[in-house]
Symmetry: C2
DNA sequence: CTGAAAGCGCTTACAG
DNA sequence: CTGAAAGCGCTTACAG
């Protein structure tokens, strides 16, 4: 009899059952480790091996009501088509690795889906991935709060660096205390009196929280602040470099210290400053946020706020997983951060400290 | 009537049909953009919106025979638990991004699954992910050639940096000409007479190809070679640093140039050399392979072989996609590489020169 | 422990 | 264009 549809293998549990001389129910039980006689188990396992049988996950999921898949949606950086942009992969990728490792432990796999800024069919894209998963982890700036709230009615959702809605949960880091510690270090330990905050995307919750904390803490410390649209960056090195260039070209005097929204921004600011002959940190101090791995390799090594990036991902998965298996769960998990003092703030080079912050010698030639 | 099983929503196409006053067939047609009257379309779309209906991907896949998912399996680096290890994420992550972007264009999503070196249930892990996808992309060192050949009988498979089997396809870069161009540059342009190859994982096909090309080209150029187990690294910075330390501690004289299996290895070698006061490149030249983004930020900037990492990922997806949709396809795609001359080889800092030589295809040196 | 049978939520010929 | 019905490959009560 000719088989018109499936030209090749596409073996099913029926083939295994026939070969093993048992019912499909028995095959299923063996495959799932449920009760069965040694005899049956061995015959089924043999047939499975001989046929190289791979059970269909879709059928399994449909029957079970569980796909064992979490979807992760993140923003594709097609806004900044520069070579260095590759490095900005780091932050999201490390989070995603954290998600993946945690998922692994629960037998879940991770479905990745990036969306571009200009994707028009955002709704259907998200719907498609939601349909392929048991729940979704949404990175920053994917959906509006309203959009998240709506989608969360039909699908378990955890946001990263957002805020919880009626049905969705959120995981973020403690932006405020990180920035406060940084400002205090700059003002109290170094005695800098004028500061600026070089911001990230205006619509990023992390950025807003950092900006707010910066303003209140700097004001409380009695420092002079430079703010406003001229200091508006976009989390990218390129964007930051442009901001600094424009400021310098406009004859604007630099503040004594620039607190950047993230490490990429600090990288771009340092490049621009160096290109214009402004010494970092002697003339202007620059600091970051995130502590991506490359931060310690910059010149000077970057003083920044360390986020437990991997853990954020792992936590997001765990929170989502509990939500998938039950209702409830902590709606807004806040992870601690810590100040990492290196040299871009003006602190002296200290080999011992450098060694501590890295398992490998940083190799900086003093 | 109480609903014991699905406490919450779990809406189906039936709910949408009822609400819209049409049959489930019509709902399905509208959802898939097939022929339907404007009237029907609008009523269905309205109902979908009102209910926030998300079609179940598993049911869709089961019915269609297509999941629109490709699985990617890669090695989790739990062998090198150092902080800097984060950076080795880069290479795999960039490939995976390339896969993801290409997949996006075809309406596919990417299912990620890492495996640890010591995972015992490798077979069932791979089987589980294979069952959730339409095909698999396997990174380096996941399965033996025999294992790949067997699995490929039941599932479309593309390997990265491997070799094709009877049923599986492969995508790799042109290791041999990259290494040959590098050796020629070192021997002819710089006049170095003694070289060593600091290798990667012994069981990596890329590493073997690079090592072989190194030996034959260096021998042909009449250079002295240092080889053997003492030069066995593992693709990590830490591993490379240990190799160099051991060599130095053993009183071994360094060769004039060290060709490293990848950029991470070069990073580790440079760190170790610097720590022992050996100047790079004046006393010993060091080169890499990959050209990860951080390579240009090292001190000195790393001379290396550029791989089109993102394109490798994208190509792997495209090859797999054609295989999923038909049989055939190029069994062994080889992507070109090019020599990127910076300063760690001993070339002087010269932006113009660097620009020129980095534009040269690896195979076309004098 | 084991098998026959129903059902998971879609898509798709098949008629109308 | 539209609806009734079969079928995709599993899991799981339900009997035996």
């Amino acid at each position: 009899m000719a088989e018109p549809k499936k030209p090749k293998g596409t073996l099913t549990i029926y083939d295994v059952a026939t070969r093993a001389g048992v019912s499909i129910a028995s095959v299923s039980r063996v495959l799932n480790g449920l009760g069965s006689s040694t005899e049956t188990r061995e015959r089924v396992l043999l047939a499975v091996r001989e046929l190289s049988f791979v059970p269909d996950g879709a059928a399994r999921a449909l029957s079970n009501g569980l796909k064992e898949v979490v979807g992760v949606v993140f923003r594709r950086g097609d806004e900044v088509p520069f070579a260095d942009e590759d490095e900005s992969l780091l932050f999201i990728d490390v989070i995603n690795r954290g998600i993946e490792v945690a998922a692994q432990r629960r037998g879940f796999d991770v479905l990745m889906s990036s969306v571009g800024v200009h994707d028009e069919n955002l709704g259907s894209r998200i719907s498609a991935i939601a349909g392929k998963a048991d729940g979704l982890i949404l990175h920053d700036r994917i959906l509006s709060t309203a959009g998240i709230a709506r989608l969360a009615e039909s699908v378990p959702i955890v946001t990263l660096a957002g805020s919880p809605t009626a049905a969705s949960l959120n995981v973020r880091c403690d932006n405020a205390s990180g920035i406060r510690a940084m400002v205090r270090h700059l003002v109290h330990d170094h005695g800098y009196r004028s500061l600026a905050y070089l911001s990230g995307h205006a619509d990023s919750p992390d950025n807003k929280a950092r900006g707010r904390a910066f303003e209140s803490e700097a004001a409380a410390a009695g420092a002079d602040l430079q703010t406003g649209p001229a200091w508006q960056g976009n989390y990218s090195a390129e964007g930051a470099a442009q901001v600094i260039m424009a400021l310098l070209d406009g004859g604007r005097a630099m503040p004594r210290a620039i607190v950047c929204a993230n490490d990429q921004t600090a990288l771009g600011a340092m490049h621009a400053l160096a290109r214009r002959g402004v010494d970092v940190p002697d003339q202007v101090a620059v600091t970051g946020f995130d502590d991506v791995p490359v931060a310690r390799h910059l010149h000077p090594p970057l003083t920044t706020v360390h986020q437990p990036i991997r853990e954020m991902g792992a936590t997001a998965f765990e929170v989502l997983w509990s939500r998938i298996n039950a209702t409830g769960g902590e709606p807004d998990v806040v992870l601690p951060v810590r100040l990492v003092v290196r040299e871009s703030c003006g602190c002296a080079h200290d080999p011992a400290a450098a060694l501590t912050s890295s398992a490998l010698p940083a190799g900086e030639e003093a």
